[in-house]
Each structure stands twice: as C-alpha cells, then as structure tokens.
C-alpha cells in the first residue's frame, strides 16, 4: 500500500545504491577503491529525531559551545537509520559520484548490550521518513549494525576472543628474583607439556590414559593442534611468557586470552608440527581476526575507510552530522567543543560544510535547506554541472539517500561560483587544496566568519543583522499565560527605566523570552533591579506574579549541565538553583569573555518552522 507512494523521487535519474546486511561486504569491496580515487566524500545521515523541544534546536543566539551541547544531547539520544556515503570527484564541469545509502540498525549482534541499549524516536521524523517511502522493515530486519571504536575494545575484552600477539618487546631491565622464578616455572612447564605431546602423539595409548594425561597436563586442542593455557596475573607476566616462548621454543604460537574486565587472563600456547604448519596457523589466525573484526565493527568499517583515506568529508550542517558520527562510531562525545574538535580532527582532518560555503555567496546566505539551495542556484547562476553516476543500480535503488548527491552537486556548484577550479580542488595526499582550506572544519551553524569561530573574527553580512555581546542578553520567564513578543515588549516598556532605551524582545519558546539591550550595561542594571529589594511599580508587580530573569551565563550553564527540560523556563530555574562553585565548569569555560552573537532584526526565531 505504502510502497506506491514511492513515486515522488526527483525527476533526474540519480540512483543511489541501497546497502543492507546482505550486500554489505560486497559493497565494501567496491567502495574501497572508489574512496581512494575520489577527491571528496560526501556524507548525509537520516536520524530518528533531532530536538525534543523548540529551544533544543540550535538557535541564532547560541555560542559554539551551547550549540555543541545541544548537538551532543541529540546525538546521544537519537539513532541513525540511514547513512549515505558518496565518494565523488569534480572533473571539468562534471561530478563523478558513487552514491551508497547504508541502512543501519543498532542490533546487539554479539549479545553484549552494544552498540546501544535504547534510542529515542520522534514520531514526526518517522512520519516524514514514511512520506518518502522508507521501508522500516528492511532497516530493522536487515540493517547493518556497528560498534564504535571505544565499544570495540570493550567488546573484544568481553567476548574473550584470543588475540594473536606479534609484538614481543624484549625488556631491557634485568629480571627480578620473582620474575626469574616465574620464567623458570613457565619454561619447565612448557617443556614438559611439549615432550608429553610429542610423546603421546607417537604412542598409541588407550583412550582413558589419553584423557587422563590431558587432564593432568591441562592440555587442550586448538584448531586440531595441541595447546595449553598458562595463567598470568599481570601484563608484565604476559611479556615474560612471550619472551620465554620466543627465546626457547620455535614451534609454539602464543595467543592472548583476554580477561572479562580488560587485560589478559592467560596465554594460550599452541604447538605446531613444522615451520609450514606454523605459518599456516598464523595465516589462519589473521583471517580469523579480520573476520572477527568485520563482525564486531560492522558499518564502522566504512567510517574507518573514509578516515584512512584522509579525504575531505563534505556534509550539510556538519555540527549535527559529526556529533552523531563521533558519538556512534568513534567514542562518547566529550563535554566540551574544543575536545570534540580535536578528537574529530584526528579522524577526519578536513570537514567541509556546504551550509557554510553557501554563506560566502550573497543570494544563498539565508538558504538553509538543500533543495532550496539547489533551486536558488539554478535561478541565480548558470553553472552547468553534470552528474555522472557510473555504477548501475536497480530501479528500486533510486529512492533514498539522495541528499548525499545533492551535497556533492552543490559543492561542485559552489566551488565553481567561488572560482575554485577542479585543478585546485584535487587534493593530494593528506593535504587539502589550499583554496578550500579556509572553509574547512567550521562547525558553528550560524557562524559567518571564515576563521576559527571561537576566536571571533567578525564580518557582518547583512544590514539587518547586528552584532551583540552575550552580556547584553537577558532571558525572562514566568510571565502570565501565553505572550507575544510584542505584548511583552509593550509590558516591559513601562516597567523600568532601562526599557526607555532601545531594546528588543523575542520569544524563545512558549515559556521564555530573550531581551536584547543594545546599550551596554543596561542588562546588568536590569538584572540587579529585578533581584533587589526596592523594585517598584509595574516591574515589582510582574516579579510578584512570578517574573524571573537571568543573564546569558545561566543559559550557558543550563546547556553545560544538561538541563534539557521541555520548557526553557524550567531549565533556567534549575540552572539558577545550581550552586556556582562547580570547579569543572571553570576549567571548561575558557576565559574568553563575552561571546559575540549576531542579532537578526527580522524574526530571529521563526516559530512557524517548528
């Protein structure tokens, strides 16, 4: 019934290969060379939700840190159902693209409670996916699972798969007495066991005798070769065992058995019959490890491929996208934006945001959505860029993950408008073409400057946007009933002398408004007035009715401490109650002074968008 609705795809026959569990490994093989041969990799994620309440969205007055806190909250909470990847190159006026759309589901493949115990869904997001004809059954039944890098190491320890040890470091220090005793004991035990094995293999014993011997020697079989487990108490002892084995026994292959809580529990020693047999075993173990890895890390292999290629990664709204990528495929998100940027840069050195590039081009400044950008480009510029998708996908394939192609196409367009020629684009090695360098790694969705947004190089880009220091912003809440910004402004105007100067009021959500004092110092006066004992007149009346106010720092605190209540008013109340002595906060918040915020005159928060 619902599959009929799939007619709504774009007119152009852009086909995206859909990938599930069944064709994953095959796709991986073809994707590998395509990534390494392309100039860029575009990515686009389809999530199960993004913000639970209106004020949880990144708002124009957010600083990079508060915007990051919001992105972090969403990334921890929601799930990625589709991950579109598209390696592409720009040649002359042609984009050569290889789009794939991976269906993901965080299935607990290894039965260890990972990658995700639970996740949230916003019904409106699921409903809009449904409108596009998304097949939830395919996603949930056959979606590819994954583990983040951090989870993988935990998982390896928990499943207890033996790890082949190849790196034997010879310790420089002379062994202590205890070590010497340990070494001797291991040596004699292994020797004894080995000779017993060789012995028994030549003799035809009775079954009972054989099993008895097995019992006494603690000998087992591993891949039809005899083996024995040597218990160890520390990583140091592991090293000692490996040293002993390397030094005295050529025909033995050691395997490390991980302990449940991390570390090593025992060293398994496997006896090989010959040099060839030893090589064979080593190869077997290597294959086994690779297979194991594939099973464990799942889709993350694609992330690792992109990362290893060091290609610039192109996305739209990079802060949100990469918060998700970091949280799901790398490690839990750090509390602080700087740490996030550092951590991400180690994996993806160049991240380009088409949203940011669009801000460089006049008519596109205010466009925030991909389709609008495409149509705007068509109207305003003549940029003949063709799309070439070499791989053949079946008819069914063309529906989802189109954004990634739009991103690729848009980037080629933008580069052309910004006079960045294909020759300049082609990056070599790990270095991004210098022409694009300036646009990379900018994560603040509302920043307009090309430099590091945190240091604040400022460029005002339209007449109706004014720069305001965060010190001039005051949040007010606790007014009665539903209020319009205009009504509130009128109410405030007569309430206190500070409002005789120029100020602006906007609603943030139904519960809370933000007041902008254009004249410096007035916000402080107002905050002092409202908390003092001798307020009078209308303001006093409003306060007695429950009006509260707080500066921008309180808002930052609410974001930092993760008070994500549905109403901003409740979060601010909670943040005010919280004592200020938090030392963690001091180390987090850099003494950068007030942040600069752009204040747009025309309705800064468009409630219709909600």
């Amino acid at each position: 019934m619902w599959l009929q609705r799939r007619g709504l795809s774009t007119k152009r026959e852009w086909r995206v290969k859909q990938v599930t569990k069944s064709n994953f490994s095959q796709t991986l093989e073809s994707l590998k060379p395509q990534i390494s041969q392309s100039d860029f990799v575009a990515v686009s994620l389809q999530k199960t939700g993004s913000f639970s309440a209106p004020w949880h969205r990144v708002l124009p007055f957010d600083t990079p840190q508060t915007a990051y806190s919001k992105a972090r909250f969403a990334a921890d909470k929601f799930q990625v159902f589709q991950f579109a990847v598209c390696p592409f190159s720009v040649r002359a006026s042609k984009v050569v693209a290889h789009p794939y759309n991976f269906h993901l589901f965080p299935r607990d493949e290894l039965k260890i409670g990972m990658p995700s115990y639970s996740f949230s869904c916003q019904t409106s997001y699921l409903a809009s996916m449904a409108r596009e004809g998304f097949d939830f059954n395919v996603c949930i039944y056959d979606g590819i699972s994954y583990l983040s890098r951090a989870q993988e190491s935990v998982a390896n320890a928990r499943i207890g798969n033996p790890i082949p040890s190849n790196n034997v470091k010879t310790s420089s220090s002379t062994p202590s007495v205890a070590d010497a005793v340990f070494i001797e004991r291991i040596k004699s035990r292994v020797k004894h066991w080995k000779s017993a094995c060789r012995d028994s293999s030549t003799r035809a014993d009775e079954a009972l005798v054989k099993s008895l011997r097995k019992l006494i020697l603690g000998s087992e079989e591993y891949r039809s070769r005899p083996c024995v487990n040597l218990d160890v108490c520390s990583e140091h002892q592991v090293q000692l065992v490996l040293e002993v084995l390397g030094e005295f026994f050529d025909d033995l292959v050691p395997l490390l058995i991980p302990a449940k809580g991390g570390g090593t529990q025992a060293v398994r020693v496997i006896l090989t019959s010959s040099e060839e047999d030893k090589d064979l075993l080593k190869r077997e173990l290597q294959d086994l490890e690779e297979e194991q890895n594939k099973r464990v890390c799942g889709f993350r292999e694609v992330i690792d491929l992109i990362s290893a290629s060091q290609k610039p990664v192109v996305s739209h709204n990079s802060l949100n996208e990469f918060a998700f990528i970091h949280s799901k495929f790398l490690s839990p998100l750090p509390p602080n934006m700087d740490e996030f940027m550092c951590s991400l840069r180690m994996v993806f050195p160049h991240v380009l945001d088409v949203n940011h590039l669009m801000k460089e081009i006049g008519p596109l400044k205010k466009v925030t959505n991909l389709s609008a950008a495409a149509s705007c480009l068509k109207r305003r510029f003549f940029v003949p860029i063709d799309m070439e998708i070499p791989h053949q996908a079946s008819n069914e394939d063309k529906i989802h993950g189109h954004n990634v192609l739009k991103i690729s196409h848009l980037l080629a367009n933008l580069c052309s408008i910004l006079k960045i020629t294909p020759e300049m684009i082609q990056s070599d090695g790990g270095h991004l073409a210098s022409a694009l360098e300036g646009y990379a790694n900018i994560f603040h969705p509302h920043s307009t400057n090309t430099e590091d947004p945190i240091d604040g190089g400022i460029k005002v880009w339209t007449d109706d946007t004014r720069k305001v220091s965060s010190e001039g912003l005051v949040f007010i809440w606790g007014f009665r009933g539903r209020m319009s910004a205009g009504g509130l402004k009128r109410l405030l105007q007569g309430s206190h002398s500070v409002f005789s100067e120029e100020f602006d009021v906007r609603m943030v959500d139904g519960s809370c408004a933000i007041v902008v004092f254009w004249q410096s110092g007035l916000s402080q006066t107002f905050l002092e007035a409202i908390s003092s004992n001798w307020i009078s007149g209308l303001l006093r009346e409003m306060v007695s009715e429950g009006l509260r106010a707080a500066g921008y720092e309180t808002y930052k605190k609410a974001c930092r401490l993760g008070f994500w209540e549905a109403d901003l008013a409740d979060s601010l109340d909670k943040a005010l109650e919280e004592p200020d002595h938090n030392s963690e906060a001091d180390s987090e918040a850099k003494p950068t002074g007030p942040s600069q915020i752009y204040w747009s005159r025309d309705s800064i928060i468009n409630l219709d968008e909600l």
Partner: protein
C-alpha cells in the same frame, strides 16, 4: 460440559467418514481443509472506523475481553529491570518509567462470547496497529518515544510489520490530552477573533503607497459595487439568477454562505486580499470580509449582510463553525482511545496475562499521566476497569490449575500449549481425550473456524486470543458453568473466581500481588510458595546501595572487604544491579548506619591508617558512593535513564559521596523532642550524642595512627569503636 468430548468424538468420526451434513460437520470440514490459515483482524487507520463499529457490537455481547500489548521496550536501563530487591514503591516507579518512555505499537483485543446454542466460545481477535503520530499541531515538546534495541529486534524476529505501524498505525489522544486541546481551543477561538479585528485595524492604518495598489483597489471597489447593485436589484426583481461577466466568474463566484449571498474570492495573492479587505472595510457597510474554513482549506469570502445585527450574527456563526470544525478534528484525533473508552464503559471482565505493565501503558497513553504513587494508580485504574483477571495469577495461585500445569512454566505460550492443546496444535486427537476441552470458535469478518490457529506468537491480537483461551479453559477446570453466566459481571462474581478477580502481579520476580479492589498487597510468601527464593529474606532497612567502586570488584571481593570490617556474618547478600552498583544487605539494620559513617570517616581522614583499612579496597579510586535504600528509590523516580547506574546517579545530580542516614534519625529525634515537649517531659537532646559518636570514631583512628599497633589490633579496636557506635545509634533510635 460432559457432552463436549462426546460431541467432539462424534463430529470427528463424522468428519472422517464425510457422511453426514450436520452443522457440526460442516464446521469441521471447513476447518479440516483450509480455513485455519485466515489471518486475524488487522486494524489500521484505513479500516479503523468500520472495525470499531463491529468491535462495539462484539464487546457489548462479550462475556469477557482478552487484551495484550506490544511495546517498543520494557526497561530504559539495565538497573531499571525488575529485581527481587525491589520494594513495592520501587516496583511501581519502574513500571511507571517504562510506561512513560516506551510506545505501544500493537494492541490486541479479543472479545469472547459464550454461544449457548453451540456450547462454545466465539472469539473475535483484533490486532490494532497503533502509532503515536502527532495529528494536531501543538507547540511544546514533540511526540517522542524510546525504543529498547533488544525489544525492537525481538519484534523483528517475530516478523512485526513496522511499516504497517508507522505508515498506517492508528494515533490517539489521552483523555487528558483531549481536554487540554479543548481548553486550548476555547482560548484560541477568542484569540482568532481578536486577531481578525486587529488585522483589520492594521489594514486601515496602512496608506496605499503604490499606484498599482490604488488602481487595484479602485477596480475592486467598482466590482463589489456592481455585485451589490445587482444583488439588490435582484431582490426587488424576484427570483432571477445573477448575471455576471465571464472574467468575473473566474475570480468571483457567487454562492450562498450561511443563507446569505456571498462572493468567493479565488486566485488572489495575500497582498491583494489585504487590499480587498481594506476596500470592504472602507466603502461597504453591508459587506463583510470573512475567512472561512471547510474541507481542510480556507477560503476568502465577501458576504452581504442586512444590518449590524445581522453582521454580529454572521460573525458568531462563522466563529461557531470554526470551533465545531476544530472540535471535530480533536474528536477524530482521539482515534484508538475509542477502543479503550469502549472497554471501560462496557465494564466487561478484562483478561490479561501478567498485565500490570499493559495496564500502566493503557493508563498513561489513554487516560493521563501516571499518578506518583502505586496506591493512587491502583485506585484510579479500578475506577476505569472494575473487573480484571490476570491469567498468570490464576495459573500460579490456584491449586487445581497448578496441578494441571504440573508446576511448569506459566509463560503465555506454555500455558496455552498445556491447557489448550486442542487449539494450540490444531489437532483433535489429543491423548487426554477425557479432559473437558472448551471449544473456541474464531470469527473474523465472515470467516469462521473452530480450530483456528494463526500461530503468530507475540502478535498482540494472537496473544490476546491465547490469553482468552487459557482463561476459558481455566474457568472450565475450576468448574464454572458458562451457561449460567450470561453477563460479564456475573462471571466476575463467580465464587470460584472471587479469589482471583482484580489481583495483579505487581512484580512477577518477587511474586508481589496487589488487589485492585481494595488496594491491599498480598504478601508474596503466602501466595507464591512455588517460587524458589534465591536470596534470604529481603529487609530494605538493612540495605545500602554502593556505586562507583573499582570496576573489577566482584561480589565476592566486596563481601570479603565488608566482612573484614564488620565481622564475618555482617553481610547477608551482595546483589549487582549492574557492573557499577551493588546492594549490600547487612544482617542487622544498625550496620547500615555504621557502614555509612565508617565510609565517610575513612574518606575524610586521609592518613596511612585509613588506607590500610579493609574497606579501602572498596573505596579505591575515590568515586565510591553509598547511601541507604531510599536513595535508590529517589534515583528510580528520576526521568533520566543512563545505561550505567553510576552515570545515572551523577546525571540525577548527586554530588555527595556518602549519605548518612543521620538526617532521618534527626527528624525522628526532632519528632520525639516535640512530642516530649508537648508532654511536658524533658528529654536529653540526642544531637550531642550524634556528634560525639563521630568524634569517638575519629579518636579511635587518631589513637590508632600510632605505628606500633599491629594491623589486627587496629581492626579489633575499630570493631570496638563500631560496637560503641551501634550502641549509640540504638539508643538514639529508642
């Protein structure tokens, strides 16, 4: 009842020989060939209205209605799972958390009616796909629900159709949500009108600037004048239709709006409409500009009015129309809740299998937010559903049935297989032919079958059907004669069921049962004697919760180090909530306070002795926190759910490391004090004692910091300190 086996064997033989053509044979014929494979009644958005009408009839006629729910998850964190260490109030908090966070995706309803003419039950299994889609725009938080990955995977394993659920699922509003929306509507209606007037005022204020606007306005004015003139002439001239030029017909169409002549304005821009509004306002006293809605879209109208009075009347009519329409929308949005309202209003006996969580979901989704306490929940649910039966309780507490089940597993599918083998295996040749099997005929739309079995386990509709079958068979085994019970209430009052009606498992793990009728709890031990207890008797006042300790500490090691500090038999049980937290149950309640005080003391005094203390193993890393059982309850009541308990405690905002239970004692002693003051008696204040006890233990440790004393002496004297301490606490407790 005795006739049943006879009848069946008769009909079986008939089927085999294919000789006769009685009604029975026909039924068996059809079932023996192809019929058992038809699907149960799947209900989605598209067939909801019609199915609801049928269901109303079936429920009205039913003797009882079996229900079952499928959810997107059960627990939002491992430490929120059901433990034996859950006190009654904690159990409720866990159920509440689950019902609040997860969504219901499938709702099985299966009315059962006793057909006295054919001596069998007729069941109508319905499988409703439910999805909490937001149908009406409201500001505020978005609709959101949690999915537990393993639960979703489990549903997938049983071929749950997620597409049907998300695309076609029936949405709903709870009673509370509906009321809230109607409340909003009331205020909005006033708003809209005032908005309308304000708009008009603003329109008047703006002067026409551009020439184009002036020209357009002039043209419109002429058009309206013409129309009006024609209209008036028309009135004089009798019943002649209006003649309008062709070009006008496209943009202006004459209709009757609420019994008044009117023009529909088509194909104008918002700006042009504003200008028209202005023209009307300025130049025509007997025309009004109106925005009316119908069929989901708005249209702009110019309406002719006779007088100011008529105008007011019209505005009121328009307003009422808008309001009615909005109310209709809300009514449609109620959606699946109509089914729940039906079940509640018909007051039928509701049958579920281990259904407390189901009931909590029903309450939360269709009535309103769950009450804060179990007591309030129980009393209000009883108001909505006066008769409820839990088959799991029936099978576990009734001796006759327990014998039948051979004390085996009482999971729904096991119970169904052992109590209703003739339905479960769709075979008539059961070895236990002398058992009086209850016949259940299934009817879906026009299809009927007496040995229907879709076998789709964990599909809500089928699970409800199994539950109903189990209940019917159980009743028969209890000697209930269905012929005598014509109504549902009658069945609920049967003396053989009396002991079980309105009893629900509050927690299956502990076997705690609650009586919804009286609100009384029925002690687990008296009822659940076949449940093997893995732990000695649980005393919540003897429990401390410890979290944030070094991760490699096993229960054994924790027991060891506490035993070293408090004596070999001090610890009764160690129970891991997850890898970051344990419950420690002490043998004596005093030890709880002692433990917390000792922990606090060891942490505040940072000297070599406290490092040597046996308890320091537990405190290593400096993140170990401990508190009494009350804190666990507090943390459970938080809406936050972090996967690890230690993270949860942090997220809830716990900043202390040890929560002494002194504060509670203080409250107690304060109460005592005030009490004794009232009595005029003087009481030695116990506060100094409190202070002195901490001082004493510090003294001991100070004394101990002498290096000459051996380790064992240290421990011994610590013991001494503790015994003193516990004496203190005991005295203050008195």
């Amino acid at each position: 009842m005795k006739q049943w086996p006879l009848l069946r064997s008769l009909s079986e033989s008939l089927t085999r020989t294919l000789a006769a053509h009685s009604a029975y044979t026909l039924r068996f014929l059809s079932s023996a060939t192809a019929s058992p494979t038809f699907a149960l009644k799947n209900v989605t958005k598209s067939n909801f209205e019609s199915s609801l009408a049928d269901l109303r009839r079936h429920v009205r006629d039913a003797d009882f209605v079996a229900i079952d729910l499928e959810m997107t998850g059960v627990t939002s964190a491992p430490w929120r799972e059901s433990f034996e260490f859950d006190r009654f109030d904690v159990q409720y908090l866990k159920v509440k958390d689950s019902a609040e966070k997860f969504a219901v995706v499938q709702f099985g309803v299966c009315p059962f009616r006793w057909d006295s003419s054919r001596h069998c039950f007729v069941a109508h299994p319905h499988n409703f796909y439910v999805f909490p889609r937001q149908e009406l725009p409201v500001d505020g938080p978005s609709y959101e629900f949690l999915c537990q990955t393993t639960s979703i995977d489990f549903l997938a394993k049983y071929q749950f159709d997620f597409n049907a659920c998300i695309y076609e699922g029936i949405s709903y509003l709870s009673r509370e949500q509906e009321n809230e929306m109607l409340r909003c509507l009331n205020s909005e209606c006033d708003d809209e009108m005032s908005l309308l007037w304000r708009n008009m005022k603003e329109v008047r204020d703006t002067p026409l600037v551009s020439v184009a606007d002036v020209l357009f306005s002039e043209r419109m004015k002429n058009r309206f004048n013409e129309w009006r003139k024609e209209l008036l002439q028309d009135r004089k001239g009798g019943s002649q239709f209006l003649e309008t030029s062709n070009d006008m017909k496209q943009q202006f169409q004459t209709i009757f709006f609420k019994m008044r002549p009117a023009l529909i304005l088509n194909g104008f821009t918002a700006h042009q409409l504003r200008l028209i509004q202005l023209v009307i306002k300025k130049h025509f006293k007997d025309l009004v500009y109106i925005r009316s809605s119908g069929d989901g879209s708005y249209s702009e109208l110019i309406v002719y009015i006779d007088s100011d009075n008529d105008k007011n009347l019209l505005m009121k009519e328009v307003k009422d129309g808008l309001r009615r329409e909005a109310e209709m929308k809300i009514k449609t949005a109620v959606g699946f809740r109509h089914v729940i309202d039906l079940l509640s209003s018909e007051q039928k006996l509701i049958v579920g299998h281990n259904c407390l969580l189901d009931i909590a979901h029903i309450y939360n989704k269709f009535f309103g937010p769950l009450p804060l306490t179990a007591e309030d929940f129980v009393s209000s649910i009883h108001k909505y559903f006066p008769y409820m039966i839990d088959t799991k309780i029936l099978l576990n507490t009734n001796n006759v049935l327990k014998h039948l089940m051979k004390n085996g597993s009482t999971s729904l599918s096991k119970a169904f297989a052992s109590l209703c083998p003739q339905i479960a295996s769709s075979s008539k040749n059961s070895g236990l032919a002398f058992q009086p099997w209850v016949e259940v005929e299934v009817q879906v739309d026009d299809m009927r079958s007496s040995n229907w079995n879709s076998g789709a386990k964990h599909e809500a509709g089928y699970d409800a059907f199994m539950t109903g079958c189990v209940f019917a068979q159980a009743c028969s085994n209890l000697g209930i004669d269905f012929k005598k019970h014509s109504s549902s209430a009658n069945l609920a009052h049967n003396k053989n069921l009396q002991k079980h009606v309105n009893h629900l498992y509050f927690s299956w793990v502990n076997g705690d049962i609650i009586d919804l009728g009286t609100g009384n709890r029925i002690a687990a031990t008296t009822v659940c004697y076949n449940l093997k207890r893995r732990y000695p008797k649980i005393l919540f006042s003897n429990i401390v919760i410890v979290w944030g300790f070094p991760s490699q500490l096993s229960s054994k090691k924790i027991r060891e180090c506490i035993s070293k500090a408090f004596g070999p038999i001090s610890v009764t049980t160690i129970y891991h909530l997850d890898e970051t937290a344990v419950f420690v149950q002490f043998s004596k309640p005093e030890l709880v306070a002692d433990f917390l005080v000792l922990k606090e003391t060891l942490e505040t005094i940072q000297d070599p002795i406290s490092v040597l203390h046996p308890l320091s193993v537990l405190l290593e890393g400096g993140n170990t926190c401990a508190a009494s059982y009350e804190t666990y309850k507090e943390i459970c009541s938080s809406p936050i759910s972090k996967v690890m308990f230690a993270d949860q405690a942090k997220a809830v905002g716990i900043k202390w490391k040890t929560k002494l239970i002194e504060s509670k004692e203080k409250v107690k002693t304060q109460e005592d004090e005030s009490f004794s003051k009232e009595n005029g008696a003087t009481d030695a204040a116990s506060d100094p004692a409190d202070k002195s006890k901490t001082r004493k233990i510090e003294d001991v440790i100070d004394n101990l910091s002498d290096d000459r004393i051996s380790g064992s002496e240290i421990i011994d004297s610590l013991y001494a300190a503790q015994t003193k301490l516990s004496k203190h606490i005991r005295t203050t407790n008195l």
